[in-house]
């Protein structure tokens, strides 16, 4: 007993000593604590298209070339030159580039990284299909040679979503594309602190002191990535409420997405700034299953499209109309390919009567359509509910099945008939850069079983995409995208439900927070 008490007392003394030491400033380290849109679990940016994995990769890895806010491709790790015939791309690495483990960045590293990427990324595959050779020509240079001109090449290499092209050391990049890499050594502005990584909970980055910033002003993902703090921590919080409370209490510095409904709570709070950083925003879409009735019939798809109103969907999803935009352009409003052909019913509140008429004309026999509703993703719960109401009004028989997002992800990959556990319709969101280019927009793929979930068989669009890939200039590209827009609206490859914007919020202790399609932490300093 005595021993117990003395132990207890000793414990108490130790505890108070700890408290004292904790109160002394350990050092003047600056740390930004941020809450991103979800927890980081998968680290390999080649194996998954998850946004948070990409966001992480942009911290740790660097890219060969980069996109700026004018959608221009600029040199990042390497300068590039394109031959006049458009067949030869010469890349020259900047001087002094180092990996986090101290090694130099070599052309061999880059070639391995590009090759691994090409196995998984759609754009990469297109380059691969046309590639004659990819080889090093010097200590700092390597050359990509194509068999035919492919103007999209640099854009594919610079795109930020999904499956951006990151440079990794050769020993890591030589792993098969289907197996997740286990080492995270990059050459990006931040070092990944593996010891402190807790999947789904916390990611810690330290400033990489040997980072050599690219020349030029910072703009999106191009230009100088100057790190102005010592550490960045991403912590995961399960709900927005908790996150906002933490932000108001000064426990975190940055919140990537604030539900628009809750903005009033933050607006006007001293010490907190709210703003839409991802100025292009995101689009929300509905996708049908082309393999099974009734959505194998274009008329039924048309009827569904006619019934739904973008405004209703976006109001339920976002609420405040300042943060959404009714937009008929499948490539996004504010992008070079903004055309709105065929979107009248969507943008004018839906046309239930026309939908009813179309449905009556179609082959629809009243079979319930299986609508998958995710219950655990805040940004995806509203669409099915609103859509179900509209579809029912138009005469559809809707079987809405709630499930968690992961179940939905699993189930949408299944091609079995809806009645046996398959599906007819689901909704998802993309950030605009993911859909703004016809070659990057996976939903346009019309190659049947090889296509994205829903598996449309659509040779017409395949021809259009091919023409787009070969189009020599913007004007030609725009002409083709307008045709694609009209085709998608007519054929209803998917239902485009408009654009919305997620405001971010951060503490005014941070300065230098600038708009970008997703948050970056270079160029930000903290008091």
């Amino acid at each position: 007993m005595t021993a117990f008490w003395s132990n207890l007392r000793r414990g108490a003394v130790a505890a108070s000593a700890l408290t004292l030491s904790a109160m002394l400033p350990a050092n003047a380290e600056t740390t930004i604590t941020a809450v991103m849109h979800s927890g980081l679990r998968v680290l390999d940016p080649v194996i998954t298209t998850a946004h948070i994995t990409r966001d992480n990769a942009f911290m740790v890895f660097d890219t060969l070339v980069a996109l700026n806010s004018d959608f221009e491709v600029t040199p990042q790790m390497a300068d590039f030159e394109v031959s006049a015939d458009g067949l030869t791309y010469t890349f020259t690495l900047r001087d002094g580039l180092k990996w986090h483990d101290g090694g130099d960045v070599t052309p061999a590293d880059c070639i391995a990284s590009i090759k691994r990427w090409m196995q998984r990324d759609g754009g990469g595959q297109m380059i691969n299909d046309r590639m004659a050779s990819l080889e090093a020509t010097g200590d700092k240079t390597f050359v990509l040679t194509l068999t035919e001109p492919f103007p999209y090449t640099l854009e594919a290499m610079a795109k930020v979503s999904s499956l951006a092209l990151f440079m990794m050391p050769e020993r890591i990049a030589s792993a098969p594309a289907n197996e997740a890499i286990t080492e995270f050594v990059g050459s990006g502005p931040f070092k990944f602190v593996a010891d402190e990584f807790q999947p789904g909970v916390k990611v810690v980055y330290e400033k990489f002191d040997d980072y050599v910033p690219a020349p030029g002003p910072r703009s999106w993902f191009s230009g100088a990535k100057d790190v102005l703090v010592d550490r960045v921590e991403w912590v995961t919080m399960p709900d927005a409420q908790t996150t906002m409370n933490a932000l108001m209490n000064g426990e975190i510095d940055f919140m990537e997405s604030v539900p628009v409904d809750l903005l009033p709570l933050l607006e006007g709070m001293p010490g907190i700034k709210t703003e839409v950083l991802s100025t292009l925003g995101a689009v929300t879409i509905g996708r049908m299953n082309f393999k099974h009735p009734p959505f194998d019939d274009p008329k039924v798809r048309q009827a569904a499209k006619l019934a739904i109103s973008q405004e209703n969907v976006l109001t339920a999803l976002i609420g405040n109309s300042e943060y959404f935009q009714v937009c008929g352009a499948i490539f996004g409003c504010g992008t070079p390919y903004e055309f709105t052909d065929g979107s009248e019913s969507l943008t004018s509140g839906g046309d239930i009567e026309a939908a009813k008429a179309m449905l009556a004309e179609s082959s629809y026999d009243g079979t319930p359509i299986v609508l998958m509703q995710p219950t655990d993703v805040v940004t995806l719960t509203a669409q099915p509910i609103v859509a179900a109401q509209a579809l029912r009004e138009a005469g559809f028989n809707v079987d809405m099945q709630p499930m968690d997002w992961q179940t939905l992800v699993t189930r949408r990959a299944s091609q079995i008939p809806p009645a046996e556990g398959g599906w007819n319709l689901f909704f998802t969101n993309w950030i605009v850069p993911e859909v703004s280019n016809p070659l990057g927009n996976v939903m346009l793929n019309g190659r049947g079983d090889q296509a994205w979930f829903g598996w449309p068989e659509d040779p017409e669009i395949e021809d259009l995409l091919k023409a787009f890939a070969e189009a020599p200039d913007l004007a030609a590209q725009q002409a083709i995208t307008q045709q694609i827009q009209a085709h998608v609206m007519e054929n209803v490859n998917y239902i485009h439900l408009g654009q919305y914007f997620s405001p971010s919020a951060w503490s005014t202790k941070l300065s230098g927070v600038e708009p970008a399609p997703f948050p970056v932490f270079w160029g930000i300093s903290k008091e």
Binding site: A22, L43, P176, N178, P199, G200, Q406
Partner: protein, 313 residues
């Protein structure tokens, strides 16, 4: 005692086996595809199939089961399908917050609930009794997350006394740890206090009707001595039992509380893993929590012999 202990441990084996088989079959016989989750939004069917094969999900169920059990017997809990980290590391990272919160909760609950129950039993049918009973029924009836939000609103937001959320290891900063542990522990304790106070009261009421309590009074002992020396220890066994079985409730509460207060503990890890279909993690965690439950109850059963000399193993 040793033979009893061995018998109990042996008896736990079939229990754990039941748990293992149940969880494994539940996971494998229901729809779900970790590969689809791993690969993300843009993956093609072809790519999914390749990932499935590389994760070993295409093998027959019994092969997967044997491999898993074989690994378990060698102390290998497997590797997370999603984050590619050994399960044991994940658990080690996430274990301490949960353990700390649970310990604080249990301590707090016992300290608060036992005197409450004693008081209620002693003042049976008085307003004190009614107040304690009402409080404990309330503790049962209001969902944990509602209590959590109310506490946050009151203590963290309106009064600003405590942080809203989070977890800091006690070794890192004890004061910060304590400040963050108070609200979750209070939230969780609400059910536990209710449970223990009720049981203490009921058990003590039973004991107070016993002959030896009458004997103690006939000896001219003070009420306090009667209550604490004679009655309470006899009433302790059912209270200990409820602490043990209530452990299950605690685990459930932990899941919710960790979510409300953003504590990176095992509860959230389990829920996240379930949603992500991270089979090895789910399996390990359910087996682990079940094992802890069985272990806690074994320890409690063994502790009976300390409380009651009639119980000998």
């Amino acid at each position: 005692m040793p033979t009893y202990f061995i018998r109990r441990v042996l008896a736990a084996i079939p229990v754990m086996l039941v748990v293992a088989v149940f969880v494994f079959l539940l996971l494998r016989l229901t729809p779900g595809d970790p590969a689809a989750i791993l690969a993300g939004d843009m993956a093609t069917p072809d790519q999914l199939e390749k990932i499935r094969t590389s994760l070993g999900l295409n093998e027959p169920v019994y092969v997967q089961f044997t491999r898993w059990i074989g690994g378990l017997l060698q102390g290998d809990f497997g590797t997370s399908l999603i984050s590619n980290t050994p399960v044991i590391d994940l658990v080690a990272d996430r274990m301490w917050p949960t353990i700390w919160i649970a310990l604080i909760t249990i301590t707090l609950s016992v300290i608060v609930a036992v005197p409450m129950g004693v008081l209620a039993a002693w003042k049976h049918r008085s307003w004190v009794d009614h107040a304690v009973m009402t409080f404990s029924v309330l503790g049962f009836s209001v969902p944990v997350f509602v209590i959590g939000y109310l506490l946050i609103k009151l203590f963290a937001l309106d009064l600003g006394w405590l942080p809203v959320q989070g977890y800091i290891a006690p070794s890192q900063d004890f004061a910060a740890f304590a400040a963050r542990a108070v609200l979750p522990a209070l939230t969780l304790a609400s059910i536990y206090i209710a449970l223990i106070a009720r049981m203490t009261r009921a058990s003590l009421l039973d004991v107070l009707g016993e002959d030896y309590v009458r004997t103690a009074r006939a000896k001219g002992l003070t009420e306090r001595r009667v209550l604490f020396r004679h009655a309470l220890r006899n009433a302790a066994v059912p209270v200990m039992t409820v602490i043990g079985t209530g452990f299950a409730l605690l685990i459930s509460g932990v899941v919710v509380t960790e979510s409300v207060f953003n504590i990176p503990g095992l509860g959230r890890l389990t829920v996240d893993s379930i949603f992500a279909r991270d089979y090895p993690v789910i399996q390990a965690l359910i087996l682990l929590t079940s094992g802890v439950y069985v272990g806690v109850n074994l320890i409690i059963d063994l502790s009976y012999s300390l409380l009651d000399p009639r119980i000998r193993y």
